[in-house]
């Protein structure tokens, strides 16, 4: 199989696939703006504020999709012990954290004019999402800790699985805790007749565009993670060679200096 790396002109992490996905995302984002800000009517209840939903819902969708992929990657790593899956999990989590934060912020920006406050503790969905965000911030922090790569992957995989497994528990406890959920009921359901056709189009189109965008980001982020993994390993190999060529005394001194701990 001819791999991407064999092409000499390759100077970045893009490929034909990512260029197509990137182009589609760009065009899609332009149309998201046209549909969401111009072509779609205002909502009978929310007024123009419904337009925040057209970026809020796709962001939240992307975040949850990314976290689910992180869980799948974590489980697959523990099963197959393949670096590939570990890198997928890590790449996906970083994108997930970004969009989870964006979903929370846009949710707050919608809440301020709607509820009068940026934050409602009574809203189970945003509280759950915040706890989720904190869990994955911890996950990313853990991935950034130096150490043996295999150990690091294993730790990350287990934390990734616990975080995903905790989503229903957090959700259930927060729902019970808040008693009264002020959030919009799931906005897109077949039984829901409140949404205008064009509003539904705007929401679903946004979700589709963000799915493509996620694929584009994931491919790039994954390749970066792969390259980082390679440079790290090359660095280790190089260090080993240098270590061997040095005298034992020097090596011992270097080791002592490197291992100064608080």
């Amino acid at each position: 199989m001819k791999t991407l790396g064999e092409r000499d002109e390759l100077r970045n992490t893009s490929s034909r696939g990512t260029r197509i996905l990137g182009g589609l995302s760009l065009v899609g984002i332009v149309f998201m703006g046209l549909i969401g800000l111009w072509w779609s009517p205002e909502d009978s209840d929310m007024g123009d504020l419904v337009r925040i939903m057209y970026v809020h819902v796709p962001s939240a969708w992307l975040a949850y999709m990314a976290f689910i992929l992180t869980a799948i990657g974590s489980a697959m790593f523990l099963w197959k012990r393949s670096v590939w899956w570990d890198l997928v999990a890590g790449a996906s989590a970083e994108i997930g954290v970004l969009f989870c934060a964006l979903a929370l912020v846009t949710g707050s920006l919608w809440g301020r004019p709607t509820w009068g406050t940026y934050w409602r503790w009574g809203d189970a969905r945003i509280v759950t999402t915040l706890v989720l965000l904190l869990m994955y911030v911890g996950y990313l922090a853990l991935r950034h800790v130096d150490g043996d790569p295999t150990q690091r992957s294993k730790r990350a995989a287990i934390v990734g699985l616990i975080a995903a497994g905790n989503i229903p528990v957090v959700r259930m406890s927060v729902v019970w805790w808040s008693n009264r959920t002020l959030h919009q009921k799931d906005t897109v359901t077949l039984a829901d007749t409140k949404l205008d056709n064009m509003q539904l189009v705007a929401l679903l189109f946004g979700v589709a565009v963000f799915t493509i965008l996620f694929a584009w980001m994931l491919l790039h982020r994954f390749r970066i993670a792969w390259l980082e993994n390679e440079t790290e390993q090359r660095g280790l190999e190089q260090a080993l060679i240098e270590r061997r060529s040095e005298s034992l005394v020097k090596a011992d001194r270097a080791l002592g200096a490197a291992e100064v701990r608080p």
Partner: protein, 222 residues
């Protein structure tokens, strides 16, 4: 299996009894936290009484972080971790043993804190059964989650800072459920504490089962 669990539990508890770190450092810290809550929320007001359950569990969860760190600090000296790994003990037994030791330590701590809360914050117990069961089940959940993250962070140079970041969000459901159940048991809020206890039990079972399965993977070297 049972023998191995009690062996590990006994070892941890013996270390604790002899070193007295729990008694001389961790318990006073927990009491200090409760006193600080009193200052933050204006002592003699009704506020303190209303939030007794929540403050109690926040204090327990913060203190649990110290206890978890302590539980794995004793393993890091003299390469004890390697000794544990090479001892031939079933990793599941090591996990359950260490978690059980943590449960016992935390329960003792909770009794002490409970007495302090009763004196400093006031209030009365409506359902002692619910109170006791909630404390035991919530402590199992905290100890199990703590033991997984404890071993996970133990070998890291940044363990002191990363452990709370990883552990606290995971313990959020436990904190919510235990607080609500306590509120019912103390007669402070009209909620059904027993249904919260069910959720708490579910959490404890899931964390313990997952921890038992994951512990072996985390303990082994690469």
């Amino acid at each position: 299996m049972w023998g191995e669990i009690t062996l590990v539990t006994g070892k941890d508890l013996r270390i604790e009894r002899r070193s007295r770190v729990g008694l001389t450092q961790i318990a006073p810290f927990a009491v200090t936290v409760l006193v600080l809550f009193g200052f933050a929320l204006e002592g003699d007001s009704a506020t303190l009484r209303t939030f007794t359950a929540g403050l109690f569990w926040v204090a327990v969860v913060f203190t649990a972080i110290l206890a978890v760190q302590r539980s794995f600090t004793v393993e890091s000296v003299n390469d004890n971790r390697d000794a544990l790994r090479l001892s031939g003990l079933d990793p599941i037994a090591i996990f359950l043993g260490k978690a059980a030791a943590l449960v016992i330590e935390l329960l003792v701590l909770e009794v002490v804190l409970g007495c302090v809360v009763a004196v400093l914050y006031g209030g009365s117990v409506h359902s002692a059964g619910l109170l006791g069961l909630t404390a035991v089940v919530a402590t199992i959940a905290v100890a199990s989650a703590g033991t997984i993250y404890g071993v996970l962070a133990a070998s890291l140079r940044v363990r002191e800072t990363i452990l709370p970041l990883l552990l606290l969000p995971v313990l959020a459901p436990v904190l919510i459920a235990a607080t609500r159940a306590f509120e019912d048991a103390l007669g402070e809020a009209a909620v059904n504490g027993w249904s919260w206890l069910v959720l708490l039990t579910l959490t404890a079972v899931v964390y313990t089962a997952f921890g038992a399965l994951a512990f072996g993977t985390l303990l082994e070297e690469s």
